[in-house]
């Protein structure tokens, strides 16, 4: 009865704990991305990340066990905090081409996730997950060509 684990998608937001000016922050996020891309390729995980002064929003996709392992590693990272999982469900990867697509820094109203909490109900979280995903899709498709 050996089955390959299902493909899942995880969407979460967290509080940004990076300090320093905008340039320092960008640099630190670039480090995170570099490490993520290296690790995620090895783990068979894809996804996308964006951030602003207050929070991170990320989606991770791949085999369930691989996504769980990467997520757990990220949970030990003090550069962010107060993680709220918005969605974990079986899904076809939306960012299959990118080990970790980068949506850049997004300071506008669409990326205000700081009011979400793990106590939020299913509907609230589902709606938030949808808007995070839509946001990631739109900014990634704009940002990626430039990133090369």
């Amino acid at each position: 009865m050996k089955k390959t684990p299902p493909l899942v998608r995880l969407v979460y937001v967290s509080r940004n704990r990076l300090s320093g000016d905008a340039a320092t922050m960008e640099r630190e996020v670039a480090n995170i991305l570099a490490v993520s891309r290296r690790n995620n390729v090895r783990a068979g995980v894809t996804g996308a990340l964006l951030f602003n002064a207050d929070c991170f929003a990320q989606t991770l996709e791949g085999r369930r066990d691989a996504v769980e392992a990467v997520f757990e590693r990220i949970q030990c990272d003090p550069r962010h905090s107060d993680t709220v999982v918005l969605q974990l469900e079986q899904a076809v990867p939306a960012f299959a081409d990118w080990s970790m697509a980068y949506g850049g820094r997004l300071d506008d109203e669409r990326a205000r996730f700081d009011r979400l909490s793990n106590d939020a109900d299913q509907a609230t979280r589902g709606a938030a997950a949808d808007s995070v995903l839509a946001l990631l899709r739109s900014v990634v498709s704009r940002a990626l060509p430039a990133l090369g």
Binding site: R64, F71, Q75, C76, P78, D82, T83, L88
Partner: protein, 472 residues
Amino acid sequence: MKTTAVHSHRLCAHCGSERAPGDVLTGLADRAMFADRLAASLSRRRGRSRRRPAAAEQPGGLAVLLIDLDRFKAVNDTLGHAAGDALLRAVAKRLRGALRAEDIAARLGGDEFAVLLAPPTTAESTAAIAERLVEMLSRPYLIDGGVATVGASVGAALCPGGGEVEAELLLRRADMAMYQAKNDGRGRYRLFEPAMQERAEARRKLEADLRAALALGQFELHYQPQINLATHRLTGFEALLRWRHPLRGMVPADSFIALAEELHLLPTIGEWVVRTACTDAIGWPGAPTVAVNVAAQQFQNGWLVPSIAAALQASGLPAARLELEVTESALLHNGSVAIEQLMALKALGVTISLDDFGTGYSSLTQLRSFAFDRVKIDRSFASDPAVARAVAALGASLGMRTTAEGVETAEQLNRLRAEGCTDAQGFLLSRPVPAADVVGVIDRFAIDGGVPGAPIPNFHEKSGTRKRERAA
């Protein structure tokens, strides 16, 4: 785990064979190992500080952190034991990852963890790591395709550089800090302070006093009248528990009921309350009802129905004169077990009411879960006509009486009657009175109540005079 591997193997207490030391589930140290390491660290410091002249620089402090997971049981219950174990392993990993190599992390048992922060450790660094652990352990865990969240409460105690604290005392202090963290709402850390020791002692004393109170006859019942809003006649009394302590004086219910619950004294106290209320009520003229609160714990030992039947029999009080008040949360916590007992009680002829209605979180479900005779609207809605109207309408359609609690002004009384409440209780009518004064209250109501639709402003004035009379 490299920080614990230096220890020699111990004999397994159960099987007598040799096994690797430590907690098998998580790979952290276990309780015995933690105690060993703590004792060793403390004695190492003592040796060092003895060798140093007092004025010289003191060696760094060390700290003990106790960590309890909040809501772990819920994860275990809903996701299963395997998921619970996986969660404990993940917690151990996050914990280990947040510490320095020289710190010790242990699982003491169940969902209790402990950390020994090696020197140099200060109050500031302890607070910083404690805060970080609370936040990090509270982040979600992905387990078996689901998302689990638990909280963490942390109590920390420091043995400052140059100070000397026995291991056992240090652990006790961390435990007091943990108690404080939980008491302050969980999901946070507290560092031990001497005031916690005082509070812990005061609490221990209160516990001892409370455990003795029943045997020493320090409990009393006070009774608050309830009136029928259509007839203005007194219909019954609610029995309220009071604790008169020779030194503490009258202890308010708020400050001992929760403790009595924690000490699991409510079943015994509850039994005394029913017996006493039945015995008191048997002598009341006009045969008013007597209402008694039933605590959630009383549903849990299978004693409720027989003890109430026994109280009725011993006192000779007709079952119809006894009313039992059950809160929504008592029902919520006991589910069908509670409902079955309520049905048995109803079969005895006892009246059942749903108490503090509106304060729980599944009110409507609760209202349909059992054929209550009465619903009592929580006092917090005494000035909320919309809620009173909705509950009264609901009560009427379900064939229940509706009692408004906490009525303090004539205006409230009029509104509540207008909105359809059938009965009322509150300071406007009378404060709770000692058993000895009940007959006097019944007499007064027989004289000045009892006129259907009596003008209410009058009523208010009279109740004002009553209060003054009693105060005199």
